[in-house]
C-alpha cells in the first residue's frame, strides 16, 4: 500500500514536472532558422485547374465578414498573428499569381495600349456595378467602361488611369486603364478581363471578387489564407497613399487565365476609379440619406441611434476632375470605411515592405502616371505635390516601425593568418537615404547570436556613413558556428526602433552566405 502511494506521488511529481517542462519549453524566444536553399523568387501557383464558378460578394456578406465574422473568429484564436506566408527568406514577396514581383517599370504596364475606336457595347455575363458597361473595341478586345459623375467629368477616369499605373509599379497585376472620350463624355476604359504580366494575350474570364477572408475553395492553387498574404495586408498603406477609401468588391478580382481546364486564377487590381478619394466624393454626392447610422458604430450603439445626424460632407475640390485628395495623410490612423481584414492583420514588416516599394517609385514615373490621367496642368501640379507628400508620409511611417536596413552585400574575410580577421555586412538605411532620418543621430546596436538565440558576444555599436552602414563581424565565430544571426537595431535620437533587423548568415568567414532576412 505504501509502495502504491509512493508510486502515486512519484507519478504526480513526474506529471507535474512534464507539464512544467512542456509549458516552460516555450517560454523563451527561439529565432527562426533558414534552410540552405536559395531564396524563392517565383511561386508556382498556376497549376491547371477547372474554371471556378462565378462568385459574388453581396454587401451584407462583406459587412458580415468585416464587422462580425473576423472579430468573432479572431476571439476564438489565441495564437499570435502569423507572419505573412507569401514571403521568401529575404523578406520579399516572390512573383506569383498575386504579385508580379521584381522591379516593374512604366513599360511593363502597357500591353494593349488604349482601346481602338469605335467601341461596340456588348452584354455582360456578370452583374456590373452602377455606371460600368462592357464594350469591344475595333480590335475585338474587351473593355469595361466606367462612367463619370455628372458635373465631375474625368474625375474617375483620371483616378483609374493614374493609380492603376502606380499600383502596377508596386508590383501588383493592375488592369490597364485609359481615359477615353465617347459621345462627348470622358470615361475610363479598363482592359478587363485580360491576363496581365507575361501571359497578356491569353484568353481570360472574370470569376468574381477576391475574398477578404480564407481562400477561394474552388481554386486548388489558392492555399494561403488571404489574411496571411503580405500583398493583401499591405493594401492598407497603399490605400493611405492613393486615397482608397474602401476595398470594394470590384477592386480586387479573380481572373481565370487560359483555356478551360488548363488555365489558372490570376488576382488583379481592377476598379481603381474610386482612388484619389473619388469614391468617397461620389458617395457624398449620392448620399441623400440623412438618416444613415452614425459613422462610428460604437457611438451609434451607445446612443441608441440618436446621435445627431452628421449631415452632408463637403464636396469642394480644387477642380472637378479631382477627388477629395488632400496632401496630408496620417498613415497610422488611416482606416478603410469598411474594415478590410487582411489590412487589419498587417505587421510592421509587411508595412515596411510596401513602404519601401512606395518610396522606390521614381518621381518621373509619378509624373508619367499623372500625365496619363489627361487632366489640366493645375490639377496635375497639385496631384504631383500631393502624391509626393503622401508618399513621403507613408514611407516615413513604414520605416519608423522597423530598423529599415537593406543588405547590399556581404564582404568575405580576407585570407590571412590573423586570428582577428573579420567578414562584413554592408547595408543601406532607407530612412536615412530617403531623408527621413539623419545619419548623425543614428547609432546601430549589433548583437551576434547562435541559431538558438544565445548571444555569442557583447552588444557592439556601429555608426553609419550617410545611409551606408558597414558591420564587421569576427570570421572565427562564423567558422566555429557555421550559422549566425546578426541582430541590428537602430537607435535614433536616443529612441530605439520598435523592431530589430535579423540577418541569418551561414557558411564561413571566407565565404559568408546570406540565408535569411527578417525585419
Amino acid at each position: 500500500m505504501k509502495r502504491k502511494e509512493r508510486r502515486g506521488f512519484g507519478h504526480r511529481v513526474s506529471t507535474t514536472a512534464t507539464l512544467f517542462l512542456v509549458v516552460t519549453a516555450g517560454c523563451f524566444y527561439v529565432p527562426a532558422r533558414f534552410s540552405a536553399a536559395p531564396p524563392v523568387t517565383t511561386v508556382r501557383d498556376d497549376f491547371p485547374i477547372p474554371v471556378p464558378g462565378q462568385s459574388t460578394v453581396p454587401d451584407e456578406l462583406r459587412y458580415s465578414q468585416a464587422y462580425v465574422e473576423y472579430a468573432v473568429v479572431d476571439a476564438f484564436d489565441p495564437r499570435r498573428i502569423s507572419e505573412s506566408e507569401d514571403v521568401n527568406a529575404l523578406d520579399e514577396v516572390p512573383a506569383s499569381s498575386w504579385f508580379a514581383g521584381g522591379v516593374p517599370t512604366d513599360s511593363d504596364y502597357v500591353r494593349n495600349g488604349p482601346p481602338r475606336l469605335p467601341l461596340a457595347e456588348v452584354a455582360s455575363e456578370r452583374k456590373l456595378p452602377t455606371g460600368v458597361r462592357v464594350f469591344d473595341d475595333a480590335d475585338g478586345k474587351r473593355w469595361e467602361v466606367v462612367a463619370d459623375e455628372p458635373g465631375r467629368s474625368g474625375m474617375r477616369a483620371a483616378s483609374g488611369a493614374i493609380t492603376s499605373r502606380l499600383v502596377s509599379l508596386l508590383g501588383y497585376y493592375a488592369a490597364e486603364s485609359y481615359p477615353v472620350r465617347l459621345g462627348g463624355a470622358r470615361l475610363l476604359a479598363v482592359r478587363y478581363p485580360a491576363a496581365r504580366g507575361a501571359l497578356a494575350g491569353k484568353e481570360a474570364l472574370d470569376v468574381g471578387p477576391t475574398t477578404a477572408l480564407g481562400t477561394r475553395i474552388d481554386d486548388p492553387n489558392d492555399v494561403v489564407d488571404h489574411t496571411h498574404r503580405r500583398s493583401l495586408r499591405a493594401l492598407g498603406l497603399v490605400g493611405a497613399w492613393l486615397g482608397l477609401d474602401e476595398m470594394r468588391p470590384q477592386l480586387l478580382r479573380d481572373v481565370y487565365v487560359g483555356a478551360p481546364d488548363v488555365g489558372f486564377v490570376q488576382h488583379q487590381v481592377v476598379g481603381l476609379q474610386d482612388a484619389l478619394v473619388a469614391g468617397r466624393l461620389v458617395g457624398i454626392l449620392h448620399d441623400t440619406d440623412a438618416d444613415r447610422p452614425a459613422r462610428n458604430p460604437w457611438l451609434a450603439l451607445a446612443t441608441l441611434g440618436f446621435l445627431p445626424k452628421e449631415g452632408a460632407e463637403g464636396s469642394a475640390t480644387l477642380t472637378t476632375s479631382l477627388g477629395l485628395f488632400p496632401e496630408f495623410v496620417d498613415p497610422g490612423a488611416y482606416d478603410f470605411a469598411v474594415p478590410y481584414p487582411p489590412a487589419l492583420e498587417a505587421q510592421p514588416p509587411d508595412l515596411y515592405w510596401i513602404g519601401k516599394r512606395i518610396a522606390a517609385i521614381p518621381h518621373s514615373s509619378i509624373v508619367a502616371a499623372i500625365s496619363a490621367g489627361d487632366i489640366g496642368p493645375k490639377t496635375s501640379a497639385y496631384l504631383d505635390r500631393a502624391l509626393l507628400a503622401r508618399r513621403d508620409s507613408v514611407a516615413r511611417y513604414a520605416m519608423s516601425l522597423v530598423t529599415p536596413l537593406e543588405v547590399t552585400r556581404l564582404v568575405a574575410a580576407r585570407a590571412s593568418s590573423s586570428p582577428e580577421k573579420s567578414f562584413g555586412i554592408d547595408c543601406q538605411d532607407l530612412a536615412v537615404r530617403q531623408g527621413f532620418e539623419a545619419a548623425a543621430n543614428t547609432t546601430y546596436y549589433v548583437d551576434v547570436l547562435d541559431d538558438a538565440g544565445a548571444s555569442l558576444r557583447e552588444t557592439q555599436t556601429a555608426t553609419p556613413r550617410g545611409p551606408a552602414l558597414h558591420v564587421d563581424l569576427p570570421a572565427a565565430l562564423l567558422d566555429e558556428w557555421g550559422y549566425l544571426i546578426v541582430r541590428i537595431r537602430a537607435v535614433r535620437d536616443g529612441r530605439a526602433a520598435p523592431r530589430s533587423l535579423e540577418l541569418h548568415v551561414s557558411g564561413h568567414g571566407a565565404a559568408p552566405v546570406l540565408r535569411g532576412v527578417r525585419h
Partner: protein
C-alpha cells in the same frame, strides 16, 4: 480468414492507388507555399506554448464558428430571397440552378446546442430544401421541403413539406398562468408547481398554397397531418412528466395522437424590408380546424392573429414597434384537446412554458442600426395565458426585458445574440444561420 484476405487486398489496392495517383493541384500548391519562406525551423516567441495549448481547446469552436459563417454567407446568396411567396424583386435568380448546404446553430441557456444544416437546391421555379438538426442522442429533426413557384395567374407558391422530430427537452408545467394554483392541473403529491419533462416524437406533413394578391398582402391555405407521441423524458427521473402529474390527468400524454388540420391565413406587411429596420405595419390573422383521427376524436378550432406597428424615431432606421399577439384554441367536441395542442407563447422571449386555451403576448421593441447590416435592439415582453377571455389574470403577468444584436440582410435575420431577464429567469440565445422561422404560420406551433 478469407474476408481478411479481401480486406488486406483492398488496403493494398488503396495504398497503391494513393501511391501512384497523380499529385493534385492543391497539394502541389501547398508544397510550393511551404517552401516559400525557406524556413527549416519557425520562430518561437515566449508564451507560444501556452497559446498553442489554448488553441487546442479553441480549435473546434473556432472552426464551428467559421463553418457557420461560411454557411451563412452561402445563405445570403441563395435563400435571402425565399419568403413564402416571393415579392416581384425577391424571386431567386437561378443560372442553371443553385445548391447550398447551410450550417445552423442554435443555443440557449438550459438547453443543449442544436447544430444542424439546411440543404437547398434551387432551380428557379422549383426549390427543394432539407433541414437536419442534431442536439444529442434524443434530440434530432429532419425537415424536407419542396416548393413550386407559379407565376400565373398570380404569383403563388405550392409547397409540400415533412418533419420528423424527436425532442427530449420538452417541458409542461400545466395549464394556466399559475399552474400551481390552477385546479385543472392534477399534480402528484408535493409536486404542485413543478414542471414535467417529456419526450415528444413528431411526424408532420404540410401542404400549402400561398398566393400574393398584392405587393404587401398574401393569403395562405394549408393542411397538415400531424402525429405526436409523448412519453417521459429519458433521464428525467423525478422531473419526468409521469412523476409530476397524476397519470391520465394530462390529455394526450403517454399516447400517440394523429391530427388533421386545415388553416387559412392572411398577412399584410407594409414594411419595405423585414430584416433591416424599416417602418410599416403588420397584421396577420388565421383560423383553422383540427380533427384527431385515431380513436380519440377530439375536434378543435384554432384562431388568432398578430398586429404590430413599426414607427420610426428620429432616423428611418430607429424603429419602435409595439406588438400584440393573440393565439386561441377551442374544444369543439366532448373529447379534451391534447395538452401539446394548447396555445403557447412562441413570441415571448423568456421561456415558453405556459399553455392554455388563450395566449396573449404584448411586446415593445426598439431596434436601431449601428452599421449597415448590423442592428441592436432593446425589448420588453409580457405574457399571460388563460382559459377564456374573462379569465385573464393581468396581475400575474410574466415579463422579460432584454438586449440583442443581430446580423441581417434586407429581408432575413441571419444571426442574433440576445440576453433576456425577467421574472422567469435569465435567457441567453445565440442563433446563427437562417432561422427556422420562414414559411407558413403552422411552423410556429
Amino acid at each position: 480468414m478469407r474476408s481478411w484476405r479481401v480486406v488486406g487486398l483492398g488496403l493494398v489496392a488503396l495504398v497503391s492507388a494513393a501511391w501512384t495517383r497523380p499529385v493534385r493541384a492543391d497539394e502541389r500548391a501547398a508544397d510550393e507555399a511551404a517552401r516559400v519562406a525557406g524556413v527549416s525551423r519557425p520562430v518561437r516567441y515566449s508564451g507560444d506554448t501556452g497559446r498553442d495549448a489554448l488553441n487546442v481547446f479553441l480549435f473546434v469552436p473556432r472552426h464551428v464558428v467559421k463553418f457557420l459563417f461560411w454557411g451563412a454567407s452561402v445563405a445570403i446568396g441563395v435563400i435571402e430571397k425565399q419568403p413564402i411567396v416571393p415579392r416581384a424583386q425577391e424571386v431567386v435568380s437561378s443560372h442553371g440552378g443553385r445548391f447550398a448546404i447551410l450550417p445552423t446553430l442554435f443555443a440557449e441557456t438550459g438547453s443543449p446546442f442544436d447544430v444542424g444544416a439546411r440543404m437547398i437546391v434551387d432551380f428557379g421555379a422549383v426549390a427543394t430544401g432539407l433541414r437536419v438538426g442534431f442536439g444529442g442522442i434524443h434530440y434530432f429533426e429532419i425537415e424536407p421541403r419542396v416548393a413550386f413557384q407559379l407565376d400565373v395567374p398570380v404569383r403563388s407558391v405550392l409547397a409540400f413539406e415533412g418533419l420528423y422530430k424527436v425532442d427530449n427537452n420538452r417541458v409542461y408545467g400545466g395549464v394556466g398562468q399559475d399552474p400551481a394554483s390552477d385546479r385543472r392541473n392534477h399534480f402528484q403529491p408535493l409536486r404542485a408547481g413543478a414542471s414535467g419533462h417529456y419526450l415528444e416524437e413528431r411526424a408532420r406533413w404540410i401542404g400549402s398554397y400561398a398566393v400574393r394578391l398584392h405587393h404587401d398582402f398574401e393569403v395562405l391555405l394549408s393542411g397538415s397531418l400531424d402525429r405526436r407521441t409523448v412519453s417521459d423524458s429519458v433521464g428525467a427521473d423525478e422531473d419526468a412528466l409521469s412523476r409530476v402529474f397524476v397519470p391520465g390527468s394530462v390529455p394526450g400524454a403517454f399516447e400517440s395522437r394523429r391530427t388533421v388540420y386545415a388553416e387559412s391565413a392572411g398577412c399584410l406587411d407594409t414594411r419595405a424590408t423585414r430584416g433591416r429596420p424599416s417602418s410599416g405595419f403588420l397584421a396577420e390573422g388565421y383560423a383553422g380546424t383540427g380533427h384527431e383521427i385515431d380513436g380519440h376524436g377530439s375536434v378543435f378550432v384554432r384562431a388568432g392573429g398578430r398586429a404590430a406597428a413599426y414607427i420610426p424615431l428620429y432616423r428611418k432606421t430607429n424603429i419602435l414597434s409595439p406588438k400584440l399577439v393573440l393565439d386561441g384554441i377551442a374544444q369543439a367536441g366532448t373529447v379534451p384537446i391534447s395538452f401539446n395542442e394548447l396555445a403557447g407563447e412562441p413570441d415571448f422571449r423568456g421561456y415558453d412554458e405556459r399553455r392554455d386555451h388563450l395566449s396573449l403576448v404584448a411586446s415593445l421593441d426598439y431596434r436601431w442600426l449601428i452599421v449597415e447590416h448590423v442592428g441592436a435592439s432593446l425589448f420588453f415582453d409580457t405574457q399571460v395565458v388563460a382559459a377564456g377571455f374573462d379569465a385573464f389574470d393581468f396581475g400575474a403577468l410574466r415579463w422579460v426585458g432584454g438586449v440583442g444584436l443581430d446580423l441581417h440582410s434586407d429581408d432575413l435575420v441571419l444571426g442574433q445574440l440576445s440576453l433576456a431577464a425577467g421574472n422567469g429567469g435569465l435567457r441567453l440565445v445565440f442563433e446563427r444561420g437562417v432561422s427556422n422561422g420562414y414559411g407558413d404560420r403552422q411552423h410556429r406551433d
